[in-house]
Amino acid sequence: MLEIDGIAAAYGNIEALRGVDLLVEEGGITCLLGPNGAGKTTLMMTIAGILKPRRGTISFLDRNITGMTPSGVVRRGIALVPENRLVFPDMNVHENLVAGAYLRLGKRKSQVQQDIDHVFERFPRLQERSKQMAGTLSGGEQQMLAVARALMARPKLLMMDEPSLGLAPLVVEEIFRIISDLNADGTTIFLVEQNAHMALQVADHFFLLEQGQVTFSGKPGQLSEHEVIQRAYLGKGPQRNQPAADQGRPDRTTLPSG
């Protein structure tokens, strides 16, 4: 569905992505794990059209979307739940949801109202707070609102950047339940997560991103959870017995492929 081929991106002279190859299959949950500063959010921004890549191509449903404007990307059917949620704090919940359907507001207003009803069915807590300012919601509620708002774009692919960041464990479980439900109802999901345990439970496929490169691609279970955590968060290189010079660029082809 989403094919990323050799994407490189940089902030000034600090290179954040050094040739990322990645594939998101339709209908599944694909997960991207990696340590801080590995380039996960940069990749999301590049897909969403906020950041222009220096090299490489991104294609979605077999059409090239590299360098497209953010609104073009949304129009093609990719919605993003951004890191730190970024709800509109001085708008109420209902208005936030309407904003999520912005591109459809011109023509299909009744459809938007229907969608809001659907979203409220899925998130009854949001319906209760429909007139409340988004800035006054709790962290978990804001996260739900961010997800609901992204759904209002009727995305074919939903990208989520660290939806569990800063949330209490019980809330995290609820968020992941929602992710599974959404996927069961047919939304393809591309998830960036720090919570490896939860992510590996729901994912069909996952990638490890280290220093701007994909260093592992496979299904949960192909790598022990322990090793995933060691590599993704505690930065243990994959081939510790190799000479130091090789460790910077692990050979992707020797890793199990998806």
Binding site: P70, S71, A79, F88, P89, M91, Y102, L105, A153
Partner: protein, 299 residues
């Protein structure tokens, strides 16, 4: 006491035009987080376009008003392209300085085209003041107040109940998140500029026609009045702009009466200075300022 109340009423009438100017300022600041100091001069150019239409065609009030608004919008677009769009994101101060030098440019252009500097501007209405008990009202002030009220209601409708208004609010609350919604942030900023300029054009027409004359100095006057009113109310807040405009009007009216005309501007600047030092967020914008301060302190 009657004097005091009469001054307040006069101040509110006067302040309604300041409020219109401040709304234009605050719309631009709200979506861009930048100050457009060229705002006054652009609407001044608009008013001179209106003068030109009057001089050349002896046009009626509606045509002059329309020409003023169109002129203000066209110059506003020029300023947006040169001082805002072209300057990279994050360089708010560069935009401010740029808009300041363009101000001088616009003033000189007007002086070259209209060498006599002061021109007659046809009044909108000619009628005697209306008495109401111990108080009296000038008709043009009542018109000004009424138009300002209608424009404010119109703006409220636009912001709260239209698709564009939603986009505009989204951009001013969080431009990054607005992008993720598929909102074309650049286009929204451009349109906000156009609307602000149109507001300014209306304000310019009302003020200049009430004065009966126009000079290039009107640009400086409008920028300062709009800027002070906006900062008193709180940058980026529309209710703040209205409140700030009215407050400024009342303070000016009172100081003219009790201190003398030469103290009018001085007391306005003094009030602004006090607000900046003790309450930089103004009447309504304190929260936004605190949020921004917190952001700059983040390491």
């Amino acid at each position: 006491m009657v004097d005091f109340i009469q001054n307040c009423l006069d101040g509110i009438m006067l302040g309604s035009s300041y409020a219109l100017l401040a709304i234009g300022f605050t719309l631009i600041f709200g979506v861009m987080r930048r100050l457009n100091l060229s705002y006054g001069p652009s609407i001044m150019v608009g008013a001179f376009v209106g003068t030109l239409v009057y001089l050349e065609f002896k046009a009626n009030a509606v045509a002059i008003a329309a020409a003023t608004v169109v002129g203000a919008v066209i110059v506003g677009i020029y300023v947006e392209r040169l001082c805002f769009r072209a300057i990279r994101r994050g360089a708010a101060v560069a935009s401010m300085v740029s808009s300041f030098v363009i101000w001088m440019q616009l003033e000189e252009i007007v002086t070259v085209v209209f060498p006599d500097r002061t021109y007659f501007f046809p009044p909108m209405v000619t009628a005697d003041p209306i008495d109401l008990g111990p108080f009296f009202f000038k008709v043009e002030n009542i018109v000004m107040f009424a138009v300002a009220a209608v424009m404010t209601v119109l703006l409220h409708w636009l912001l709260q109940y239209t698709r564009f208004g939603l986009a505009l609010r989204a951009v001013s609350e969080n431009p990054r998140a607005a992008l993720f919604m598929g909102i074309n942030v650049g286009a929204v900023m451009f349109l906000a500029f156009v609307i602000a300029s149109a507001f300014g054009g209306v304000a310019a027409y009302l003020i200049v026609s009430a004065d009966g004359q126009i000079t290039p100095l009107f640009g400086l006057w409008a920028t300062f009045k709009g800027l002070i009113a906006m900062m008193l109310g709180g940058m980026g807040s529309i209710p703040g702009a209205i409140l700030g405009g009215l407050l400024l009007g009342v303070v000016e009216a009172q100081s003219i009466w009790y201190l003398g005309t030469e103290y009018r501007d001085l007391s306005a600047y003094f009030l602004l200075f006090l607000f900046l030092v003790f309450r930089p967020g103004g009447l309504m914008g304190q929260l936004a300022v605190e949020r921004e301060l917190a952001a700059t302190r983040r390491v």
